[in-house]
Point group: C2
Chain length 379, copies 2
């Protein structure tokens, strides 16, 4: 039997109810029936962004498309931006800025490290910074950044804060209104428990003003045009109606659990995963582990390397992610973002133990599972 | 009972088998299981584009996103392009060119008219034209353009021909290799019988060379990067895996019917629709009606206007499209592109007759249906 479960940080497992909802007959994106779905979905999305006052733009794109939209709509050519880089997705902000003629002041940390808001404060003081580009959860290293403290810095300075929360939204705490975060970008395929193909850009009132001043001639990514369509409960071009149907189902599940409970669950899952990993004698990669994702150093990487995740997937159906770029063969990543519960984490730990044993690395069968169960039980 | 059938030119009806295929568990876009799906899907797409030699890029976007990708990858700022405009989607090419600093030489026709290749030949002779942007089927008017003859002009001149076949691919004949069309853009949600959310750019060898010379710093729409990923059976960013699964099912249906049969079926459907409409005493809007779409002048538009399509949808569940821009309330459009057969066309004609009768316009009950049935039966 070929039974697999994704523990990859996007795409993640999607509830069958959501998949079936997205398989309902196609509706037309200019008709009343869609407008009602769209109104409900954007309202539900705002709940997840923890923002009542923002506009949420739903794009037919991946998360990277939504990042491109953010760069193009909140910078003009020649602007300077502070870009926080400590992994592959910070690099993506950097590369997008370079592609679109934004002077990127790079604030760099080692992969696995997190951003220090004081460093950003200094750069803002020294340079004429228009916007700060940050990452809630750096997927490549399993690291959560202190967005709340960053937002204090940008708020005081009157500079836009643009956060990539493709990883993180719906698992790691993020409160747009309360923290005063200006722009948050996300996607459907991670903690929002929906297949890939939808990007989101959530824009608060300070950012809406900035949008009006934007000088670029955007077309597909034109959020000014999208803002006008929002008033009519539409998107400027054909809406990906079936994915939106699916998304709305997953959002309803999140709302029924409650955002505090969702954040708490992920906090608990990462606690259990970390306890299990440490009990096996393995090392957590990140200095600031995310709630939705646990990155782990592969023991004896020269011997085991990429065969670790391959074996685990092939023999146990547990699909972990390996490392990216220079971390290939050096780490593996367990995602528990979205449709995951305590027993899913236990299962992933069990498969990791079995894999370590099979590869002749160490016999820690049951140790990590026991530690996680104890952690979950509150002992 | 609220039973609806879409006769709108995108999105269109999607077979239940395809919807259910897209509701299968999510797979990871960097794993072997996806690479196999991707290889098969791109091969199947090439069959529909009638091209063995091209690269097909699958984008997470609508058709408009694929159009933007074409403009950004096959023009550089300051280039001149000939843009054929005779409706809303020709205007979209024009607006994209303007947004991205391409000098657009507009070759304009009245809405409902079609392109005359000699006009394009003249413009190419007089101006230093890099590319010609054309439309296979102008959705706003139900008009098919003579792409084959256009391709003769561009081939002789050594100029790139870029065709928007978002409407048209898979219903109106288009043979990329045989006709020597360089770039064809399309989307999932029309004759390819898949929900919206996938854009395609199909690139022949002449255009692949042009791609390498492109000077723009594209990111999300970077087809050079996408070309490298194609070799690894991947997309540069997260692939919309579930939509691709669905698409592949619909492509298999097209392949099993056979492309000649598919084109023939649509030709027949439009013949029946036109015969029915004319028998009712109504007038076809286009001077060159498309195979996938029949646009019809609304009789007594000042009296009936937009209530025509509203009544037809509400009372009979037959969802037609109205007119766009200045044609609002002046025409209605019956799409028969993709998952439609003779009896679907008959149903749409019956609902039109009933609507004309209900609105007190004329009693032609059964007339159009009879004419269509006779046409279909070959009489």
């Amino acid at each position: 039997m070929d039974k697999k479960q994704l523990f990859t940080p996007g795409p993640t497992e999607v509830p069958q109810e959501t998949l079936l909802e997205s398989a309902k007959p196609v509706i037309h994106h200019r008709k009343q029936v869609f407008k009602e779905l769209f109104r409900e979905t954007t309202e539900n999305l705002k709940y997840v962004f923890a923002s009542e006052k923002s506009d949420v733009h739903i794009l037919s794109s991946t998360g990277t498309g939504a990042m491109e939209a953010a760069v193009l709509n909140f910078t003009s050519p020649g602007d300077s931006a502070a870009v926080i880089v400590s992994g592959k997705f910070g690099e993506r902000w950097r590369d997008l800025c370079k592609s679109f003629d934004v002077n990127a002041e790079i604030i760099e940390y080692e992969w696995g490290d997190y951003c220090k808001p004081d460093d950003v404060r200094k750069v803002i003081k020294e340079k004429n910074i228009k916007a700060v580009f940050a990452t809630l959860v750096e997927t490549s290293t399993g690291t959560v950044n202190p967005i709340r403290e960053l937002a204090e810095v940008t708020s005081q300075a009157g500079v836009l804060l643009v956060v990539d929360a493709v990883s993180g939204l719906g698992c790691d705490r993020l409160e747009m209104d309360k923290w005063d975060v200006d722009v948050v970008v996300s996607g459907s395929q991670k903690a929002l428990m929906t297949p890939p193909g939808l990007g989101f850009v959530c824009v608060n009132s300070k950012a809406k003003d900035a949008l009006q001043e934007n000088k670029r001639k955007n077309y597909y990514w034109n959020l000014k045009k999208s803002q006008k369509s929002l008033g009519k409960m539409q998107t400027p071009y054909t809406s990906p109606v079936n994915l939106i149907k699916g998304l709305n189902n997953s959002l309803k599940m999140i709302i029924s659990e409650g955002m505090e409970a969702v954040w708490g669950r992920h906090q608990k899952l990462s606690g259990g995963a970390q306890a299990g990993i440490e009990e096996m004698g393995l090392e957590i990669f990140s200095k600031s582990p995310a709630a939705g994702l646990t990155a782990v150093k592969i023991p004896s990487p020269d011997k085991i390397g990429e065969s670790f995740t391959k074996h685990c997937e092939k023999k146990y159906g547990v699909v972990l992610a390996g490392g990216q770029a220079h971390l290939k063969g050096k780490i593996f990543r367990i995602a528990h973002m979205g449709y995951y519960d305590e027993m899913d984490v236990v299962k992933s730990l069990a498969a990791i133990e079995a894999t370590l044993n099979d590869l002749g690395e160490r016999n820690v069968l049951g140790c990590g599972v026991k530690a996680a169960l104890e952690k979950f039980s509150g002992r």
